[in-house]
Symmetry: C2
Subunit: 546 residues, 2 copies
């Protein structure tokens, strides 16, 4: 027997309808790529999104077609996003920070038919255009006055292009499981893989993110997504902002300390979100200038682990609550958020920071477990660590075109590739990437824990720990060290520093001092390359064991 | 092209799973029907719900079967609710305040197979049992020690009955559109009509209700649903409490001022919800005893319009924020909530109360419009009033067994039967029931507005305004008055009092002084009966017009 409730599919463009109807005077303020600040109301933004949808439809773009954007956070990107969704096409937000060859690869893999680009990326695209064979038209997100001379195929300025439509258009209607958007994971191994969001997953994800214990938005907030839309839906803010009827501030391309500071204070932003790097620049600027943050109430920090000192500074010096969060492109992206449950809400000082270092807990709609190599579930004791797996309506079940094959376990859980602990109250903390963990005698050793300790040594500039094959223990840890300039140190001195700080069996079997540790484009340690370099390394303990 | 996100149906029992796993130490505290206070954690409650599901399954109760409850808000009712849902059966929360013949009618109409009843209602059910032919078993929500001798068919005490199951049971799996629950509208005309909620509609409704601008629950709240579960899911709190991981306090059967006050303060309740009548009793108790509400932060008031004085007293005297809300059984039930958007958030004093008298605005997931008799949409100007219609994933599309026929308009909107204004910021205010509005020369006159004015006359005890047939204007208003004891008043005196306070063409054409105005069981004016009584009444203006 079925319920007798209305069929009302969860479609993303219903969100901008809601904002336009119920929050008609609320604005989206942007720093434009051309320079000046720009303001638009939700009803105006919706009308322009409708024109865009109408204009796309006239070009024969509709359900199932992919439309790429290569753009910063501005009102034009937001309205393009809703317009693409609303005609039933699929937005494909391309990350301009990828290597050019990766950009070419993913656009071709996605078979994008239209490219909507900021002025910033026109020169880059002109260099790549020959290889981008699926793109039929380039729409430059500007007006005729700012339109550059360009060799790009069928290039048009956005403003004049959408002005060809009158907006007398209705959103397309379709099933909520229809594809809505695409985002490729940057992937440290192999080619990037395309995650395909549905309208349903996007809307549910936003309804999850908007809750008080998650990002928690109301119409009284002024929210600034510094995190770009091309980072998995701007961590939901492209939908939750309009869903809550919050004011929005879009920072454009200038994410440096002074620029972000100016917007935060001028527009009385109450809630913002970005990766630690952005906040490092802001905090440096504040320290250098004596700036204050009188309006900002909370800052969501994710993408990589938020340093403890950053949390402390935001909270103690500037009175801004830090909300540590974790997610993945495959999770739309929110997974856990570190708001404080009543068990922890009363903590202060270092004890509070201890908890805030964790990545947080899951809301309803995200299930989480940690397992060992035999897929047995491990205890939530805050100490035992295992593979972190997740399940939910906004978690990927496969990649575009089947890349990567079957990605769910027997119970339908997705392996995040992270290794984590979960405490008794459900707070998850990432301890490693699963491919970096060292498997010694059936037990796991966290490379990150040892690295964090080792860089505390006054002579050490950088540290990496990798597993080296061992005849008895399968793997044993090798500590790879870059020393600070003009320093020398013995193996005994370095290992002695770790003594008593880690379990005896975690102690690295050897130390290798190198000139440089390899990094990825985004600054992370490239352990694959490092493991490759030390592939044939023989530990002193290995010869002893043989 | 479909999205590639996980299939994760929105099932109600996933909510109690979430609470048990992620909020293992949070409690549901109840005032038991037997008397003492009782406390249980979410994991314990979930285990007992699983046992109940298992026990139901053993009796052959499964998908599509209806299980009635006739019970107050206690932990047992809550676990029964989840257990019934989790085996795929349909909870049917029966309102014990209905007339006995209505209770018989709806149980037979729903074809309930099992009745789970509080001790309170055993005598009532014994009287009705002969007519309740579909009920195979009565489960009395108590233990063997408190089990009364009873003639009820296959009667068992709940505790011993579920103890026959070991809890080694898995929730049933099924489509999210499967029927989850039933609730009959009390309906002032005709027979009660059954609303059939689905798992999807219940879960989406809760995700809507939990938002900061709606009821807004976090894990740090202690929430007390004084509104009973049999009032359309206890206004979502049966699901949003566990979804947020909030502590819950269940008041049992004692809803008088002292009892509610005791629980509010003893368990530091931060958020509660009920109809105005309950709060009137609480406020009277507070005034009589000098009591305070140091922990309570907000009180959700709905069911009928919240009196202005009540809002003022809660806020000014006790520092508790009033959240005026409106909904219907057919809406799961939340429709609008009167939290303050930035346009109104800065108001104070009487201006703030003016807004808080409105029923509020809709969240994402509820669409609203007002229309005239020709189904033309009317302006959102805060003045124009029309039929209030709603649409959304948690709004009914039909009643059980097709009662009432087609209930949606051409665009899929449900006519609420209310007449309302909506202002430019989306705040709805109910001005009348559509069947009570007086249609004079194609224009509408609000009966409630005139009644509210008329009772302001010092000699008037109660007032009702109804439409009387008129040869020229179709209908004209008649003011029906009950005078205070030992008072007399002329028609001219009473109408003179209204002069200048309402538009001229709203002025009643006549006044009828009566000894008594008929009321429904819940104390509302029974306008149907009143109209029936005045069916052949001839207005003085009618004879003049002929």
């Amino acid at each position: 027997m079925l319920g007798l409730m209305q069929d009302w599919p969860l479609l993303c463009h219903r969100v901008i309808d809601h904002a336009a109807i119920n929050h008609p005077e609320r604005c989206v303020i942007s720093r434009s790529i051309e320079g000046p600040l720009h303001s638009i109301t939700y009803p105006e933004l919706r009308t322009r999104a409708l024109k865009l949808a109408q204009r796309l439809a006239r070009d024969g773009i509709g359900q199932g077609d992919r439309v790429a954007t290569l753009a910063w956070n501005t009102w034009r990107h937001l309205e393009a996003w809703y317009g693409i969704l609303g005609v039933g096409a699929i937005y494909h937000t391309v990350n301009p920070r990828l290597f050019p060859e990766q950009i070419v690869w993913i656009i071709n893999h996605a078979e994008d038919r239209v490219m909507m680009t900021d002025l910033t990326f026109v020169p880059l695209l002109e260099k790549l255009a020959d290889k981008l064979t699926s793109i039929e038209r380039y729409v430059v997100l500007t007006d005729a006055a700012h339109m550059p001379k360009t060799t790009l195929r069928n290039a048009v300025p956005y403003e004049e292009w959408i002005a060809e439509a009158d907006g007398d258009f209705a959103w397309a209607a379709f099933d909520e499981n229809t594809a809505a958007g695409m985002c490729y994971t940057s992937g440290t191994t192999g080619n990037p893989k395309g995650v395909v969001y549905s309208h349903r997953s996007n809307v549910l994800h936003s309804m999850i993110a908007i809750q008080p214990d998650m990002i928690g938005l109301s119409s009284r907030e002024v929210v600034m997504p510094v995190v770009p839309l091309f980072h998995a839906n701007g961590w939901s803010l492209s939908l939750t902002g309009p869903m809550a009827g919050a004011s929005m501030v879009m920072p454009g391309m200038k994410l440096d300390g002074p620029s972000v500071y100016e917007l935060l204070n001028q527009f009385k932003v109450t809630c913002t979100a970005a990766v630690p790097t952005v906040w490092l620049m802001l905090l440096q600027h504040l320290e250098a200038t004596g700036g204050k943050l009188p309006h900002l109430k909370k800052v969501v920090i994710g993408g990589s682990a938020c340093p403890r000192a950053m949390t402390k500074t935001f909270q103690d010096v500037y009175g801004v609550e830090v909300i540590h969060a974790w997610g993945m492109t495959e999770m739309s992206p929110l997974g856990t958020v570190c708001t404080l449950k009543p068990e922890y809400a009363g903590l202060t000082g270092e004890a509070r920071l201890d908890i805030q270092q964790k990545q947080g807990h899951t809301p309803f709609g995200i299930e989480m477990k940690i397992t060992d190599d035999s897929d047995r579930e491990l205890a939530w004791d805050g100490k035992t660590f295992g593979r972190l797996k997740v399940r939910g309506p906004a978690v990927a079940k496969a990649y575009f075109k089947g890349e990567g094959g079957e990605i769910l376990d027997g119970d339908g859980f997705f392996d995040t590739g992270d290794v984590a602990t979960i405490d008794r109250y459900g707070y998850m903390q990432i301890t490693d990437r699963s491919k970096d963990v060292i498997k010694s005698g059936g037990e796991w050793i966290s490379s990150i824990d040892i690295e964090n300790l080792a860089v505390g040594h006054p002579k050490v500039a950088e540290a990496a720990v990798i597993g080296i094959r061992h005849p008895k223990w399968d793997e044993r840890p090798l500590l790879v060290i870059v020393l600070k300039k003009d320093q020398t140190a013995t193996k005994e001195e370095l290992l002695g520093f770790l003594q008593g700080k880690i379990a005896k069996w975690w102690m690295p079997d050897d130390v290798a001092v190198v000139d440089e540790i390899p990094h990825t484009a985004t600054g992370k340690i490239q352990k694959i390359t490092l493991r490759e370099r030390f592939r044939d390394y023989v530990l002193p303990t290995a010869t002893a064991a043989e």
